[in-house]
Protein backbone atom coordinates (compact mmCIF):
# COMPACT_ATOMS: atom_id res chain seq x y z
CA UNK A 1 0.00 0.00 0.00
CA UNK A 2 2.69 2.47 1.07
CA UNK A 3 6.19 1.95 -0.24
CA UNK A 4 9.28 4.08 0.36
CA UNK A 5 12.34 3.21 -1.72
CA UNK A 6 15.57 4.79 -0.49
CA UNK A 7 13.87 8.10 0.18
CA UNK A 8 15.94 11.12 1.13
CA UNK A 9 14.34 14.49 1.82
CA UNK A 10 16.22 17.69 2.50
CA UNK A 11 14.83 20.95 3.80
CA UNK A 12 16.88 23.63 2.13
CA UNK A 13 16.96 26.97 3.88
CA UNK A 14 18.01 29.89 1.72
CA UNK A 15 19.15 33.35 2.72
CA UNK A 16 17.80 36.55 1.16
CA UNK A 17 19.95 36.29 -1.97
CA UNK A 18 18.72 32.76 -2.58
CA UNK A 19 21.96 31.09 -1.65
CA UNK A 20 21.77 27.87 0.26
CA UNK A 21 22.06 28.69 3.93
CA UNK A 22 21.71 25.29 5.50
CA UNK A 23 20.47 21.86 4.57
CA UNK A 24 18.57 19.70 7.01
CA UNK A 25 18.20 16.08 6.08
CA UNK A 26 14.77 15.10 7.40
CA UNK A 27 14.63 11.68 5.78
CA UNK A 28 17.85 9.80 5.17
CA UNK A 29 17.84 6.91 2.68
CA UNK A 30 14.66 5.51 4.21
CA UNK A 31 12.97 2.38 2.91
CA UNK A 32 9.65 1.21 4.20
CA UNK A 33 6.80 -1.03 3.18
CA UNK A 34 3.36 -0.85 4.76
CA UNK A 35 0.88 -3.53 3.78
CA UNK A 36 -2.81 -2.97 3.09
CA UNK A 37 -4.86 -3.16 6.28
CA UNK A 38 -1.86 -2.77 8.56
CA UNK A 39 -1.92 -0.56 11.68
CA UNK A 40 1.46 1.10 12.01
CA UNK A 41 2.48 3.45 14.80
CA UNK A 42 5.40 5.78 14.31
CA UNK A 43 7.34 7.04 17.30
CA UNK A 44 10.29 9.35 17.60
CA UNK A 45 11.47 12.49 19.32
CA UNK A 46 10.87 15.95 17.84
CA UNK A 47 12.83 16.45 14.65
CA UNK A 48 13.22 12.74 13.99
CA UNK A 49 11.43 13.06 10.65
CA UNK A 50 8.04 11.56 11.59
CA UNK A 51 5.93 14.39 10.22
CA UNK A 52 8.08 14.68 7.10
CA UNK A 53 7.49 10.98 6.51
CA UNK A 54 3.74 11.47 6.92
CA UNK A 55 3.66 14.36 4.44
CA UNK A 56 5.32 12.17 1.83
CA UNK A 57 2.50 9.65 2.01
CA UNK A 58 -0.11 12.01 0.60
CA UNK A 59 2.18 13.88 -1.72
CA UNK A 60 2.31 17.10 0.29
CA UNK A 61 6.07 16.68 0.08
CA UNK A 62 8.04 14.90 -2.60
CA UNK A 63 11.31 13.07 -2.05
CA UNK A 64 14.55 14.82 -2.95
CA UNK A 65 15.91 11.39 -3.87
CA UNK A 66 14.26 7.99 -4.08
CA UNK A 67 10.67 7.04 -4.73
CA UNK A 68 7.40 6.95 -2.81
CA UNK A 69 4.68 4.68 -4.16
CA UNK A 70 1.11 4.81 -2.84
CA UNK A 71 -1.01 1.90 -4.09
CA UNK A 72 1.51 1.63 -6.90
CA UNK A 73 1.29 5.32 -7.90
CA UNK A 74 4.48 7.37 -7.83
CA UNK A 75 4.01 10.62 -5.86
CA UNK A 76 6.56 12.44 -8.03
CA UNK A 77 4.03 13.15 -10.76
CA UNK A 78 1.86 16.20 -9.99
CA UNK A 79 -1.00 14.89 -12.11
CA UNK A 80 -1.54 12.00 -9.74
CA UNK A 81 -1.53 14.09 -6.55
CA UNK A 82 -5.34 14.26 -6.30
CA UNK A 83 -5.69 10.52 -6.80
CA UNK A 84 -3.12 9.88 -4.09
CA UNK A 85 -4.69 12.34 -1.65
CA UNK A 86 -8.08 10.72 -2.13
CA UNK A 87 -6.58 7.31 -1.33
CA UNK A 88 -4.44 8.47 1.57
CA UNK A 89 -6.15 11.01 3.83
CA UNK A 90 -4.48 12.88 6.65
CA UNK A 91 -5.65 14.04 10.07
CA UNK A 92 -3.53 16.86 11.46
CA UNK A 93 -2.60 17.89 14.97
CA UNK A 94 -4.57 21.09 15.47
CA UNK A 95 -8.30 20.41 15.24
CA UNK A 96 -9.16 24.07 14.57
CA UNK A 97 -6.78 24.57 11.70
CA UNK A 98 -8.15 21.83 9.49
CA UNK A 99 -11.85 22.64 9.54
CA UNK A 100 -12.76 24.79 6.59
CA UNK A 101 -16.52 25.21 6.45
CA UNK A 102 -19.04 26.81 8.78
CA UNK A 103 -21.21 23.78 9.35
CA UNK A 104 -20.07 20.26 10.19
CA UNK A 105 -21.88 18.80 7.21
CA UNK A 106 -20.31 21.22 4.76
CA UNK A 107 -16.87 20.60 6.18
CA UNK A 108 -17.18 16.84 5.73
CA UNK A 109 -18.26 17.54 2.14
CA UNK A 110 -15.15 19.61 1.40
CA UNK A 111 -13.09 16.68 0.09
CA UNK A 112 -15.86 15.21 -2.07
CA UNK A 113 -16.60 18.73 -3.38
CA UNK A 114 -13.02 19.02 -4.52
CA UNK A 115 -13.29 15.64 -6.20
CA UNK A 116 -16.23 16.97 -8.21
CA UNK A 117 -18.67 14.38 -6.90
CA UNK A 118 -22.37 14.66 -7.89
CA UNK A 119 -24.55 16.19 -5.14
CA UNK A 120 -26.71 13.11 -4.44
CA UNK A 121 -23.78 10.79 -3.95
CA UNK A 122 -22.00 13.44 -1.89
CA UNK A 123 -24.92 13.85 0.50
CA UNK A 124 -25.09 10.10 0.95
CA UNK A 125 -21.37 9.77 1.65
CA UNK A 126 -21.38 12.73 4.03
CA UNK A 127 -24.28 11.23 5.99
CA UNK A 128 -22.58 7.83 6.13
CA UNK A 129 -19.28 9.31 7.28
CA UNK A 130 -20.97 11.40 9.98
CA UNK A 131 -22.94 8.40 11.24
CA UNK A 132 -19.70 6.43 11.33
CA UNK A 133 -18.12 8.87 13.79
CA UNK A 134 -21.38 9.52 15.66
CA UNK A 135 -21.89 13.17 14.76
CA UNK A 136 -24.82 12.81 12.38
CA UNK A 137 -27.24 14.56 14.72
CA UNK A 138 -25.03 17.62 14.91
CA UNK A 139 -24.52 17.90 11.15
CA UNK A 140 -26.08 21.35 10.79
CA UNK A 141 -24.22 22.87 13.74
CA UNK A 142 -21.11 25.01 13.72
CA UNK A 143 -17.86 23.13 14.35
CA UNK A 144 -16.80 25.92 16.71
CA UNK A 145 -18.94 24.54 19.49
CA UNK A 146 -17.51 21.02 19.43
CA UNK A 147 -14.88 19.65 21.82
CA UNK A 148 -11.36 19.02 20.51
CA UNK A 149 -12.00 15.28 20.20
CA UNK A 150 -15.23 15.87 18.31
CA UNK A 151 -13.47 18.29 15.95
CA UNK A 152 -10.91 15.60 15.18
CA UNK A 153 -13.82 13.26 14.47
CA UNK A 154 -15.19 15.79 11.99
CA UNK A 155 -11.76 15.76 10.33
CA UNK A 156 -11.85 11.95 10.23
CA UNK A 157 -15.36 11.99 8.75
CA UNK A 158 -14.13 14.46 6.11
CA UNK A 159 -11.57 11.89 5.04
CA UNK A 160 -13.95 8.92 5.27
CA UNK A 161 -16.30 10.69 2.85
CA UNK A 162 -13.56 10.37 0.23
CA UNK A 163 -13.43 6.57 0.79
CA UNK A 164 -9.71 6.35 1.49
CA UNK A 165 -7.60 3.20 1.65
CA UNK A 166 -5.21 4.68 4.14
CA UNK A 167 -5.42 7.35 6.86
CA UNK A 168 -2.39 9.06 8.32
CA UNK A 169 -2.82 10.54 11.78
CA UNK A 170 -0.16 13.16 12.47
CA UNK A 171 -0.15 13.51 16.27
CA UNK A 172 -3.95 13.76 16.32
CA UNK A 173 -4.19 13.62 20.09
CA UNK A 174 -1.48 16.11 21.05
CA UNK A 175 -4.00 18.89 21.76
CA UNK A 176 -6.76 16.75 23.26
CA UNK A 177 -7.82 15.85 26.78
CA UNK A 178 -7.62 12.17 27.90
CA UNK A 179 -11.23 11.44 26.93
CA UNK A 180 -10.67 12.95 23.48
CA UNK A 181 -7.48 10.91 23.05
CA UNK A 182 -9.18 7.65 23.84
CA UNK A 183 -12.02 8.52 21.47
CA UNK A 184 -9.68 9.18 18.53
CA UNK A 185 -7.44 6.14 19.06
CA UNK A 186 -10.49 3.91 19.41
CA UNK A 187 -11.94 5.32 16.19
CA UNK A 188 -8.65 4.64 14.41
CA UNK A 189 -8.66 1.00 15.56
CA UNK A 190 -12.27 0.56 14.60
CA UNK A 191 -11.67 1.88 11.08
CA UNK A 192 -8.73 -0.47 10.78
CA UNK A 193 -10.62 -3.57 11.93
CA UNK A 194 -14.07 -3.02 10.44
CA UNK A 195 -13.27 -1.20 7.22
CA UNK A 196 -9.80 -2.59 6.61
CA UNK A 197 -8.33 0.92 6.26
CA UNK A 198 -4.57 1.07 6.59
CA UNK A 199 -3.71 3.30 9.57
CA UNK A 200 -0.49 5.15 10.16
CA UNK A 201 -0.49 6.77 13.57
CA UNK A 202 2.21 9.22 14.53
CA UNK A 203 2.28 9.98 18.21
CA UNK A 204 4.26 10.89 21.29
CA UNK A 205 2.04 8.90 23.54
CA UNK A 206 3.33 5.36 24.08
CA UNK A 207 0.02 4.03 25.36
CA UNK A 208 -1.59 4.78 22.01
CA UNK A 209 0.80 2.52 20.13
CA UNK A 210 0.17 -0.62 22.14
CA UNK A 211 -2.60 -1.94 19.89
CA UNK A 212 -0.65 -1.42 16.66
CA UNK A 213 0.49 -4.24 14.38
CA UNK A 214 3.88 -2.67 14.06
CA UNK A 215 5.82 0.14 15.70
CA UNK A 216 8.44 2.11 13.85
CA UNK A 217 10.82 4.23 15.89
CA UNK A 218 12.44 7.03 13.92
CA UNK A 219 15.67 8.80 14.69
CA UNK A 220 17.49 11.40 12.59
CA UNK A 221 15.51 10.59 9.46
CA UNK A 222 16.09 6.85 9.69
CA UNK A 223 14.20 3.91 11.05
CA UNK A 224 16.02 3.12 14.27
CA UNK A 225 13.88 0.27 15.47
CA UNK A 226 10.82 -1.59 14.30
CA UNK A 227 8.71 -4.59 15.18
CA UNK A 228 5.60 -5.57 17.09
CA UNK A 229 4.89 -3.49 20.21
CA UNK A 230 6.19 -6.34 22.35
CA UNK A 231 9.43 -6.57 20.41
CA UNK A 232 9.99 -2.84 20.47
CA UNK A 233 9.06 -2.16 24.08
CA UNK A 234 11.20 -4.99 25.38
CA UNK A 235 14.18 -2.89 24.30
CA UNK A 236 13.66 -0.27 26.98
CA UNK A 237 17.26 0.92 27.11
CA UNK A 238 17.57 1.37 23.36
CA UNK A 239 14.33 3.33 23.32
CA UNK A 240 15.52 5.70 26.01
CA UNK A 241 18.67 6.35 24.02
CA UNK A 242 16.43 7.38 21.11
CA UNK A 243 14.58 9.90 23.25
CA UNK A 244 11.38 7.90 23.61
CA UNK A 245 10.09 5.76 26.41
CA UNK A 246 8.14 2.61 27.04
CA UNK A 247 4.49 2.64 28.19
CA UNK A 248 4.05 3.26 31.92
CA UNK A 249 2.73 -0.27 32.52
CA UNK A 250 5.74 -1.83 30.77
CA UNK A 251 8.14 0.25 32.80
CA UNK A 252 6.39 -0.51 36.07
CA UNK A 253 6.37 -4.24 35.32
CA UNK A 254 10.06 -4.17 34.50
CA UNK A 255 10.91 -2.26 37.67
CA UNK A 256 9.13 -4.62 39.99
CA UNK A 257 10.67 -7.51 38.09
CA UNK A 258 7.67 -9.11 36.42
CA UNK A 259 8.50 -11.56 33.68
CA UNK A 260 7.86 -10.90 30.01
CA UNK A 261 7.01 -7.64 28.28
CA UNK A 262 3.79 -6.21 29.68
CA UNK A 263 1.93 -3.66 27.53
CA UNK A 264 -1.55 -3.03 28.96
CA UNK A 265 -3.16 -2.70 32.37
CA UNK A 266 -4.97 -6.00 31.87
CA UNK A 267 -1.74 -7.81 31.15
CA UNK A 268 -0.15 -6.17 34.14
CA UNK A 269 -2.94 -7.29 36.46
CA UNK A 270 -2.70 -10.84 35.11
CA UNK A 271 1.06 -11.03 35.51
CA UNK A 272 0.93 -9.47 38.94
CA UNK A 273 -1.68 -11.93 40.18
CA UNK A 274 0.44 -14.76 38.84
CA UNK A 275 3.53 -13.43 40.58
CA UNK A 276 1.65 -13.15 43.88
CA UNK A 277 0.73 -16.80 43.75
Amino acid sequence: MVRFENVTFEYIRRDEEGNVDSITTALDDLSLNIKKGEFVAILGSNGSGKSTLARHINALLKPTEGKVLIAGIDTADDDDALEIRQRAGMVFQNPDNQIIAETIEEDVAFGPENMGMPTDEMQQRVDEALKRVGLYKKRHESPNRLSGGQKQKVAIAGILAMKPECIIFDEPTAMLDPAGRRMIVETAHELNKKDGITIILITHNMEETVGADRIIVMDKGKIALQGTPRQVFSKGEALKALGTEVPAMTELAQRIGLEGCILTREEFVEAYKKALR
Binding site: N58, L60, L82, R85, Q86, G89, M90, F92, N94, D96, N97, Q98, I99, I100, A101, E102, T103, E105, E106, A109, F110, G111, P112, E113, N114, M115, G116, M117, P118, T119, M122, Q123, V126, N144, R145, A155, G158, I159, M162
Partner: protein
Protein backbone atom coordinates in the same frame (compact mmCIF):
# COMPACT_ATOMS: atom_id res chain seq x y z
CA UNK B 1 -18.92 34.65 26.02
CA UNK B 2 -16.76 35.93 23.24
CA UNK B 3 -17.52 32.87 21.10
CA UNK B 4 -21.22 33.62 21.14
CA UNK B 5 -20.97 36.82 19.14
CA UNK B 6 -23.00 36.98 15.97
CA UNK B 7 -21.26 37.77 12.74
CA UNK B 8 -22.95 40.15 10.37
CA UNK B 9 -26.44 41.20 11.26
CA UNK B 10 -28.33 38.05 10.44
CA UNK B 11 -31.73 37.86 12.14
CA UNK B 12 -32.77 34.19 12.20
CA UNK B 13 -36.34 33.49 11.13
CA UNK B 14 -38.20 31.12 8.82
CA UNK B 15 -39.90 33.73 6.64
CA UNK B 16 -40.39 33.65 2.86
CA UNK B 17 -37.75 36.34 2.46
CA UNK B 18 -35.25 34.30 4.49
CA UNK B 19 -35.85 31.28 2.29
CA UNK B 20 -35.41 33.13 -0.98
CA UNK B 21 -32.33 32.27 -3.04
CA UNK B 22 -29.45 34.52 -1.96
CA UNK B 23 -28.85 35.51 -5.57
CA UNK B 24 -32.40 36.81 -5.91
CA UNK B 25 -32.01 38.89 -2.77
CA UNK B 26 -28.73 40.26 -4.05
CA UNK B 27 -30.19 41.17 -7.44
CA UNK B 28 -33.26 42.56 -5.70
CA UNK B 29 -31.12 44.82 -3.54
CA UNK B 30 -29.23 46.14 -6.54
CA UNK B 31 -32.48 46.68 -8.42
CA UNK B 32 -33.94 48.51 -5.43
CA UNK B 33 -30.89 50.78 -5.15
CA UNK B 34 -31.09 51.62 -8.84
CA UNK B 35 -34.83 52.27 -8.53
CA UNK B 36 -34.16 54.76 -5.72
CA UNK B 37 -32.10 56.85 -8.12
CA UNK B 38 -34.63 56.73 -10.94
CA UNK B 39 -36.96 59.40 -9.57
CA UNK B 40 -36.45 62.95 -8.37
CA UNK B 41 -39.77 63.92 -6.83
CA UNK B 42 -41.26 62.95 -3.51
CA UNK B 43 -43.89 60.87 -5.33
CA UNK B 44 -41.30 58.16 -5.94
CA UNK B 45 -41.09 57.37 -2.25
CA UNK B 46 -44.66 56.10 -2.21
CA UNK B 47 -44.09 52.96 -4.31
CA UNK B 48 -40.65 52.53 -2.69
CA UNK B 49 -42.25 52.63 0.75
CA UNK B 50 -44.83 50.12 -0.36
CA UNK B 51 -42.11 47.78 -1.70
CA UNK B 52 -39.87 48.08 1.35
CA UNK B 53 -42.82 47.81 3.73
CA UNK B 54 -44.01 44.60 2.07
CA UNK B 55 -40.54 43.08 2.40
CA UNK B 56 -40.26 44.08 6.05
CA UNK B 57 -43.67 42.65 6.88
CA UNK B 58 -42.93 39.41 5.00
CA UNK B 59 -39.52 39.02 6.66
CA UNK B 60 -41.09 39.22 10.15
CA UNK B 61 -38.18 41.27 11.44
CA UNK B 62 -39.26 43.61 14.25
CA UNK B 63 -39.23 47.31 13.34
CA UNK B 64 -37.13 48.10 16.38
CA UNK B 65 -34.36 45.83 15.11
CA UNK B 66 -34.45 47.62 11.76
CA UNK B 67 -34.38 51.07 13.36
CA UNK B 68 -31.26 50.02 15.25
CA UNK B 69 -29.57 49.46 11.91
CA UNK B 70 -29.94 53.17 11.12
CA UNK B 71 -27.87 54.21 14.11
CA UNK B 72 -24.42 53.93 12.49
CA UNK B 73 -25.47 56.26 9.65
CA UNK B 74 -27.26 58.78 11.86
CA UNK B 75 -24.35 61.22 11.72
CA UNK B 76 -24.08 60.99 7.97
CA UNK B 77 -27.82 61.49 7.73
CA UNK B 78 -27.72 64.68 9.80
CA UNK B 79 -24.73 66.04 7.90
CA UNK B 80 -26.31 65.35 4.56
CA UNK B 81 -29.53 67.05 5.59
CA UNK B 82 -27.78 70.11 7.07
CA UNK B 83 -25.52 70.68 4.08
CA UNK B 84 -28.42 70.47 1.69
CA UNK B 85 -30.50 72.68 3.89
CA UNK B 86 -28.04 75.57 4.04
CA UNK B 87 -26.09 75.33 0.83
CA UNK B 88 -28.75 75.02 -1.84
CA UNK B 89 -29.45 78.24 -3.72
CA UNK B 90 -33.05 79.27 -4.35
CA UNK B 91 -35.89 81.41 -2.97
CA UNK B 92 -35.03 82.39 0.60
CA UNK B 93 -37.73 81.56 3.07
CA UNK B 94 -35.82 82.02 6.31
CA UNK B 95 -32.75 84.05 7.15
CA UNK B 96 -30.78 84.52 10.36
CA UNK B 97 -27.18 85.70 10.77
CA UNK B 98 -25.15 83.73 8.22
CA UNK B 99 -27.79 81.01 7.83
CA UNK B 100 -29.94 81.13 4.81
CA UNK B 101 -32.62 78.54 4.20
CA UNK B 102 -34.21 78.35 0.79
CA UNK B 103 -37.29 76.50 -0.39
CA UNK B 104 -35.10 74.38 -2.66
CA UNK B 105 -32.76 73.65 0.26
CA UNK B 106 -35.59 72.42 2.44
CA UNK B 107 -36.82 70.20 -0.31
CA UNK B 108 -33.36 68.81 -1.09
CA UNK B 109 -32.56 68.12 2.54
CA UNK B 110 -35.73 66.13 3.04
CA UNK B 111 -35.31 64.30 -0.24
CA UNK B 112 -31.68 63.30 0.34
CA UNK B 113 -32.27 62.23 3.92
CA UNK B 114 -35.23 60.09 2.90
CA UNK B 115 -33.30 58.52 0.06
CA UNK B 116 -30.36 57.64 2.33
CA UNK B 117 -32.71 56.10 4.88
CA UNK B 118 -34.38 54.02 2.20
CA UNK B 119 -30.98 52.94 0.89
CA UNK B 120 -29.66 51.85 4.27
CA UNK B 121 -32.78 50.04 5.41
CA UNK B 122 -33.25 48.37 2.04
CA UNK B 123 -29.74 47.02 1.79
CA UNK B 124 -29.67 45.91 5.41
CA UNK B 125 -32.74 43.81 4.67
CA UNK B 126 -30.45 41.57 2.64
CA UNK B 127 -27.94 41.04 5.46
CA UNK B 128 -30.74 40.63 8.02
CA UNK B 129 -32.31 37.79 6.07
CA UNK B 130 -29.28 35.99 4.59
CA UNK B 131 -26.57 34.07 6.48
CA UNK B 132 -23.01 35.08 5.60
CA UNK B 133 -22.30 31.71 4.03
CA UNK B 134 -25.39 31.89 1.83
CA UNK B 135 -24.38 35.38 0.84
CA UNK B 136 -20.87 34.27 -0.21
CA UNK B 137 -22.26 31.33 -2.16
CA UNK B 138 -24.75 33.62 -3.87
CA UNK B 139 -22.14 36.21 -4.78
CA UNK B 140 -19.81 33.52 -6.10
CA UNK B 141 -22.55 32.28 -8.37
CA UNK B 142 -23.57 35.76 -9.57
CA UNK B 143 -20.05 36.91 -10.32
CA UNK B 144 -18.95 33.65 -11.93
CA UNK B 145 -19.12 35.13 -15.47
CA UNK B 146 -16.40 37.60 -14.43
CA UNK B 147 -14.03 34.63 -14.43
CA UNK B 148 -13.75 35.22 -18.19
CA UNK B 149 -11.90 38.44 -17.37
CA UNK B 150 -9.55 36.54 -15.03
CA UNK B 151 -11.30 37.83 -11.91
CA UNK B 152 -10.59 35.18 -9.22
CA UNK B 153 -14.25 34.85 -8.20
CA UNK B 154 -14.01 31.44 -6.56
CA UNK B 155 -10.86 32.36 -4.67
CA UNK B 156 -12.38 35.55 -3.27
CA UNK B 157 -15.51 33.67 -2.19
CA UNK B 158 -13.38 30.95 -0.55
CA UNK B 159 -11.35 33.60 1.26
CA UNK B 160 -14.52 35.26 2.52
CA UNK B 161 -15.97 32.03 3.86
CA UNK B 162 -12.69 31.04 5.54
CA UNK B 163 -12.43 34.49 7.08
CA UNK B 164 -15.96 34.09 8.46
CA UNK B 165 -15.09 30.70 9.94
CA UNK B 166 -11.95 32.03 11.63
CA UNK B 167 -13.40 35.22 13.12
CA UNK B 168 -14.64 33.50 16.30
CA UNK B 169 -11.42 31.48 16.60
CA UNK B 170 -9.23 34.56 16.32
CA UNK B 171 -11.47 36.49 18.73
CA UNK B 172 -11.08 33.74 21.26
CA UNK B 173 -7.35 33.81 20.73
CA UNK B 174 -7.24 37.60 21.20
CA UNK B 175 -9.09 37.12 24.45
CA UNK B 176 -6.55 34.51 25.56
CA UNK B 177 -3.55 36.68 24.68
CA UNK B 178 -5.04 39.69 26.46
CA UNK B 179 -5.70 37.65 29.56
CA UNK B 180 -2.18 36.21 29.48
CA UNK B 181 -0.77 39.74 29.30
CA UNK B 182 -3.11 41.08 31.95
CA UNK B 183 -1.85 38.29 34.19
CA UNK B 184 1.61 39.74 33.70
CA UNK B 185 0.48 43.26 34.52
CA UNK B 186 -0.59 44.71 31.18
CA UNK B 187 -3.25 47.40 31.44
CA UNK B 188 -5.83 47.71 28.66
CA UNK B 189 -8.51 49.62 30.51
CA UNK B 190 -7.05 52.89 31.75
CA UNK B 191 -5.52 55.90 30.08
CA UNK B 192 -6.66 57.90 27.08
CA UNK B 193 -7.46 56.42 23.71
CA UNK B 194 -3.86 56.65 22.43
CA UNK B 195 -2.52 54.91 25.49
CA UNK B 196 -5.05 52.15 25.13
CA UNK B 197 -4.33 51.75 21.44
CA UNK B 198 -0.64 51.47 22.24
CA UNK B 199 -1.31 48.79 24.82
CA UNK B 200 -2.94 46.73 22.09
CA UNK B 201 0.21 46.47 19.96
CA UNK B 202 1.71 43.66 22.08
CA UNK B 203 -1.58 41.82 21.61
CA UNK B 204 -1.67 42.23 17.85
CA UNK B 205 1.85 40.98 17.23
CA UNK B 206 1.35 37.46 18.63
CA UNK B 207 -2.13 37.42 17.12
CA UNK B 208 -0.71 38.05 13.65
CA UNK B 209 2.00 35.47 14.10
CA UNK B 210 -0.54 32.90 15.11
CA UNK B 211 -2.88 33.86 12.28
CA UNK B 212 -0.12 33.25 9.76
CA UNK B 213 0.72 29.93 11.35
CA UNK B 214 -2.93 28.92 11.23
CA UNK B 215 -3.18 30.01 7.60
CA UNK B 216 -0.21 27.80 6.72
CA UNK B 217 -1.65 24.79 8.47
CA UNK B 218 -5.09 25.33 6.99
CA UNK B 219 -3.62 25.58 3.49
CA UNK B 220 -1.85 22.28 4.03
CA UNK B 221 -5.01 20.62 5.35
CA UNK B 222 -7.00 21.93 2.37
CA UNK B 223 -4.42 20.61 -0.04
CA UNK B 224 -4.40 17.25 1.72
CA UNK B 225 -8.13 17.09 1.04
CA UNK B 226 -7.68 17.44 -2.70
CA UNK B 227 -8.31 21.20 -2.89
CA UNK B 228 -7.06 22.51 -6.21
CA UNK B 229 -8.99 25.72 -6.76
CA UNK B 230 -12.50 26.10 -8.07
CA UNK B 231 -12.00 24.02 -11.21
CA UNK B 232 -14.22 20.96 -11.34
CA UNK B 233 -15.57 21.58 -7.87
CA UNK B 234 -19.14 20.59 -7.02
CA UNK B 235 -21.23 21.69 -4.05
CA UNK B 236 -23.04 19.84 -1.31
CA UNK B 237 -25.84 22.38 -1.38
CA UNK B 238 -25.87 23.89 -4.84
CA UNK B 239 -28.03 27.00 -5.20
CA UNK B 240 -31.23 26.05 -6.95
CA UNK B 241 -33.89 28.43 -8.15
CA UNK B 242 -37.36 27.40 -6.96
CA UNK B 243 -40.81 28.65 -7.96
CA UNK B 244 -40.82 31.43 -5.37
CA UNK B 245 -37.42 32.63 -6.59
CA UNK B 246 -38.74 33.13 -10.11
CA UNK B 247 -41.77 34.95 -8.72
CA UNK B 248 -39.41 37.14 -6.68
CA UNK B 249 -37.29 37.89 -9.73
CA UNK B 250 -40.35 38.82 -11.80
CA UNK B 251 -41.60 41.12 -9.04
CA UNK B 252 -38.20 42.82 -8.79
CA UNK B 253 -38.04 43.46 -12.52
CA UNK B 254 -41.63 44.74 -12.45
CA UNK B 255 -40.82 47.07 -9.57
CA UNK B 256 -37.71 48.58 -11.15
CA UNK B 257 -39.47 49.10 -14.48
CA UNK B 258 -42.49 50.66 -12.77
CA UNK B 259 -40.22 53.02 -10.84
CA UNK B 260 -38.85 54.23 -14.15
CA UNK B 261 -42.31 55.67 -14.94
CA UNK B 262 -42.66 57.65 -11.73
CA UNK B 263 -42.70 61.38 -12.62
Amino acid sequence: MIRDITIGQYYPSESVIHRLDARIKFIGTIGYVIALFLFDTFWGFLPALFWLGTIIVLSRIPLRFIAKGLKPVLFLLIFLALFNLFLTPGQTIFEWWIFNITDKGLENAGFMALRLMFLVIGSSMMTYTTTPSQLTAGMESIFKPLGVFKVPVHEVAMMMSIALRFIPILLEETDKIMKAQQARGADFESGNIFRRAKALIPVLVPLFVSAFRRAGELAEAMEARCYHGGKGRTKLHPLKMKGRDYVGLALIIGFVVAMGFVP
